[in-house]
């Protein structure tokens, strides 16, 4: 747009000033370029003539008379009850993102507007506003829990009192942010929105994790020790197949890692921690199970033999029993009674 720095004298003034009108109108139209061509035409149709007539007889440029064309276009639009300018971003991925964001914001506004019309909106909103500090605390708790989950490999970093201090600071900070609303538009507000959305999404995961493994704020990030159906195992009493108790048994998991338990009753380490039963345990506190023998304690050979030999003998002498058994008494073993009982099935 041209804004003459030198003002022509009276005689030439009118022509010079009027030459500025088309460029001024063009600037106004450019500001309205997010509207449909029909709307732009309805708004600015005949504008050149109007401006030119308004300027007639005045030694003024359109800028001086009507102000900034951008503000002029915005006033025109507002008076016509058209929506505020929707920035048309440069083409490409950025524009698609910006448009998506704009659509999101618009639909959120519409949704909020629809909610506002409900009679219960105000009481519910007031109630939620009261809960805002609680949400701030919950948000901080989720953030710290997620942080701890991410550095679980180095649990000492966030273990014990350090974790509690961090949680305290996070809660104070988060609640303070919540009370200091509304945040300024742009960066901080968007960050808070993103943080809230992430916290809402992470909340079920954290709650799930906590309900599965107890508080995440025990002294180390990960649940220590050996657990069975929600009860911690403090000792293991191994027995062999004959039901005899074993001592000094080393246990490993399927990955070759030693299996250990928390020895909360005894802080003194006694040998390798994966040897069971643990030596430090008070024998009186142990409940000895009544362990059945999986295999009999006696020598196996004597008892097993009879069941095998008749079977092999029986195959040799099935239905033809009378003649065969009589003719073949040779092989040393004497299966006389057995064969008749076995082959029937």
């Amino acid at each position: 747009m041209s804004t003459p720095t030198t003002r022509p004298g009276n005689g030439a003034a009118r022509a010079g000033v009027h030459d500025d009108v088309p460029s001024y109108v063009a600037a106004v139209r450019a500001r309205l370029d997010d509207l449909s061509p029909e709307e732009v035409e309805e708004l600015t149709g005949g504008l050149e003539a109007d401006l030119a007539e308004a300027l007639a007889g005045f030694d003024e440029t359109p800028q001086e008379r009507f102000g900034d064309p951008v503000a002029y276009a915005d006033e025109l639009r507002a008076a016509a009850d058209l929506p505020p300018r929707r920035e048309r971003p440069p083409a490409g991925l950025g524009s698609a993102l910006a448009e998506t964001r704009q659509n999101l914001v618009d639909s959120m506004d519409e949704g909020l507007e629809a909610l506002r019309r409900h009679p219960w909106f105000v009481p519910v909103r007031d109630f939620l506003v009261v809960l805002r500090p609680a949400w701030g605390g919950l948000r901080a708790w989720v953030a710290v829990a997620v942080l701890r989950g991410m550095v679980a490999g180095d649990s000492s970093l966030l273990g014990g009192s350090a974790a509690r201090l961090l949680l305290l600071l996070a809660v104070v900070g988060s609640v303070t942010i919540g009370r200091r609303s509304p945040l300024p538009d742009g960066g901080p507000r968007a960050a808070l929105l993103v943080g809230n959305v992430l916290a809402v999404m992470a909340l079920p995961l954290v709650v799930d994790h906590v309900s599965a493994s107890g508080s995440p704020f025990v002294d180390s990030g990960v649940q220590q020790g050996l657990w069975l159906n929600g009860v911690e195992i403090s000792n293991i009493l191994p027995y062999d197949a004959q039901g005899r108790q074993l001592t000094g048994v080393q246990l490993f998991d399927g990955h070759g890692r030693p299996i250990t338990v928390n020895e909360w009753w005894d802080s003194e380490p006694r040998g390798p921690a994966n040897v069971f039963p643990r030596p430090g345990a008070d024998p009186d506190s142990l409940t000895q199970p009544d362990v059945p023998a999986l295999q009999p304690t006696a020598e196996p050979t004597g008892s097993v033999a009879p069941s095998e030999t008749p079977a092999s003998a029986a195959t040799a002498t099935p239905s033809t029993a009378p003649t065969a058994s009589a003719s073949a008494p040779a092989p040393g073993v004497t299966p006389t009674g057995a064969p008749t009982a076995t082959p029937t099935p």
Binding site: L43, G45, G46, A49, L76, A79, A80
Partner: protein, 119 residues
């Protein structure tokens, strides 16, 4: 008091009233409003209002070509617009009467204070 705020509320009514006298184009309407005493009226607000009233169906519009310059867009009030004008006139009259009555009650005190200040 900021009259631009007041104007916003009554601009529709004022524009409709002006157009009952005679059809007019944008700046013509502005000029007639100013001549009637609404000096603070802004050009762009009037043009926008004309468009809005046209979109709402209260005005009709036609373009008059000009030999020596850009065309002019004329607006005229239609039956719809006259009905809107009647309704809004009733609303405005009631509102103005109410305000008048309200202000009259404390008028003596206000005048008294003014004279005290002057004295």
């Amino acid at each position: 008091m900021d009259t631009t705020q007041l104007l916003k509320g009554v601009l529709d009514l004022a524009v409709l009233a002006v157009l009952t006298e005679e059809d007019g184009y944008g700046y013509d309407v502005v000029r007639r409003l100013r001549a009637a005493g609404l000096e603070d009226v802004a050009d762009a607000s009037v043009y926008g209002t004309l468009r809005r009233l046209y979109a709402a169906g209260s005005l009709s519009s036609y373009v008059v070509p000009s030999d020596e310059g850009p065309h002019r867009k004329y607006y005229g009030i239609n039956d719809n617009g006259r009905a809107a004008l009647d309704e809004q006139t009733a609303t405005w009259t009631h509102f103005a009467d109410t305000m008048q009555a309200l202000l009259k009650r404390r008028l003596p005190a206000a005048t008294l204070r003014t004279t005290e200040v002057q004295a």
